[in-house]
Symmetry: C2
Subunit: 301 residues, 2 copies
């Protein structure tokens, strides 16, 4: 693999968005007194525990590209990050992936307990939808309703959760490439695509621009997952901040098991290039999104 | 306790709404091919397994009282029932209430497995929000966004899930009456109140009428819970379709442990009467809602 060529400007933009998204989540999950405070603690633990904020960054960058209000964009970014955090909390549970470690820290059910982790995930999902439909997100109610609708489509049974079920059912048996593609398009792709699309929905752009962003988000999401499979089979646990080589050990079909390391790397590059092409009608303001397409296939964690 | 005085017209209205809500849920959770079909099966198992449809009935009756479209009202009713179903699936999990039986049938994690039950609950929540913001629910986007916002407030960390956490944390220690009231206001009251309010939001009524319905829904919800505690300590498992006497066995403070059976019955009646009073500005079209206030404190299961 070539040395990462992540541009300085992408790094800066990522770092800035990361910090702004973190602050926004902080404000959107205020502590409360009473016995239920442990729930908010667990929600904050799960949602503020770092992470690349790739999804939130996508939402902010696309919204900014189209001139949406940055504070509103940060709310949408926070919403998609809370949705993502809920999915990780539930994925890590003993009856699911049974992962004790997340981003190098105890996963939520290890830090708290299983019941609190399930409920924190539940409440994070609720909060993600709540934020989108609150008037502060947009004065335009159609925009608010459409944001929530697109998030539901991306994360429910026909999206992320559906993909998770296919993943669980497929464990221990070899899936053909088209089924692995579909699994990931649902499990991780749909939410990444939504993250990009949400910026376009917030900015209320025309169908052509929204379609270009959806195409970009779709390819970026797949590229991300292919690169993830490559990382899982080549990086160390220390680099990843989570257990490495787990997919291989559990007998899951991955892009690497189906295409080989070199084939998977080439596939990730092809998808990343196609994602960039989807942005061809946009000017230099989309450069951070273009650089992001490189970053997702070149990252080391 | 007096013999139930549930009026024939309430029984008819309940039976009609029950069947319409069941059909609506059927249509809103269509089966799909592929490995994820088991997820939809589990969602349907959890959501179509009977139940009184009290929440859905409330939504439909209030919406009808205010002249909203019945098909739209049934969608809102289905949404609140899906949200309720998700909460039951997660509540029954081994790390939560660990209940093997629900409505006389194996609970979802017994019928399927724990992972599928968690994911089915997750997807039911998502679908509940999705239905509300779909254009079919209302041509008015503000109505759609407000329905979703009110559902999020009623079901998230400051509502149902917050109440569930207080419940879990309070197990095995005696809570004073005001904390038991708050627990139930959140855990079960908020969603019942929302169910009534959702009909008013859908019909886009003025603030005064919405406030009257909210007051009705709040007292009805508390009356329901007090009556539930009475039932839990007096009815048999066969009558309830679930394990009886569980709260007492787990050392939970209940209205019965705090007020005694007779005191709890009187409290339920007082709340039911107050719920009826909240409807005083409405005519005979609200009679089913009035009869419902009697029904919730006189029911045997």
């Amino acid at each position: 693999m070539n040395a990462p060529t992540t541009s300085v400007s992408l790094k800066d933009a990522l770092a800035r968005a990361c910090s702004e998204i973190e602050n926004t989540i902080e404000n959107l999950l205020p502590m409360v007194p009473g016995d239920e405070s442990i729930l908010i603690e667990a929600m904050r633990y799960a949602a503020l525990g770092g992470g690349k904020r790739l999804r939130g960054f996508l939402a902010v960058e696309v919204a900014t590209l189209f001139g949406a209000d940055r504070q509103a964009a940060l709310r949408v970014a926070a919403s998609v990050e809370l949705l993502h955090a809920y999915s990780l909390v539930h994925d890590d549970l003993p009856s699911m992936d049974d992962d004790d470690l997340r981003r190098g820290q105890p996963s939520t059910h290890k830090q708290f307990d299983e019941a609190i982790a399930i409920l924190a995930g539940d409440a994070l999902q609720t909060r993600a939808f709540e934020i989108l439909v609150e008037p502060e997100t947009s004065p335009n109610a159609t925009v608010r309703a459409n944001l929530a609708l697109a998030l539901a489509q991306a994360s429910g049974s026909a999206g992320m959760v559906g993909g998770q079920v296919i993943d669980i059912r497929g464990e221990g048996r070899a899936l053909p490439l088209d089924q692995v593609r579909r699994l990931h398009a649902l499990k991780t792709g749909a939410l990444i695509r939504y993250a990009a699309e949400s910026g376009a929905i917030l900015a209320d752009v025309d169908d052509a621009r929204r379609a270009a962003i959806v195409a970009y988000g779709r390819d970026l999401g797949t590229a991300f997952q292919v690169a993830d499979d490559v990382l899982d089979s080549t990086a160390t646990a220390e680099e990843l901040g989570k257990t490495a080589g787990k997919d291989e050990a559990s007998g899951k079909s991955t892009y690497v098991s189906l295409l080989g390391i070199d084939g998977a790397r080439a596939e990730a590059r092809r998808l990343s290039d196609r994602a960039r092409e989807a942005l061809s009608s946009f000017g230099a303001q989309a450069d951070a999104l273009r650089a992001l397409a490189d970053y997702v296939v070149e990252r080391r964690n």
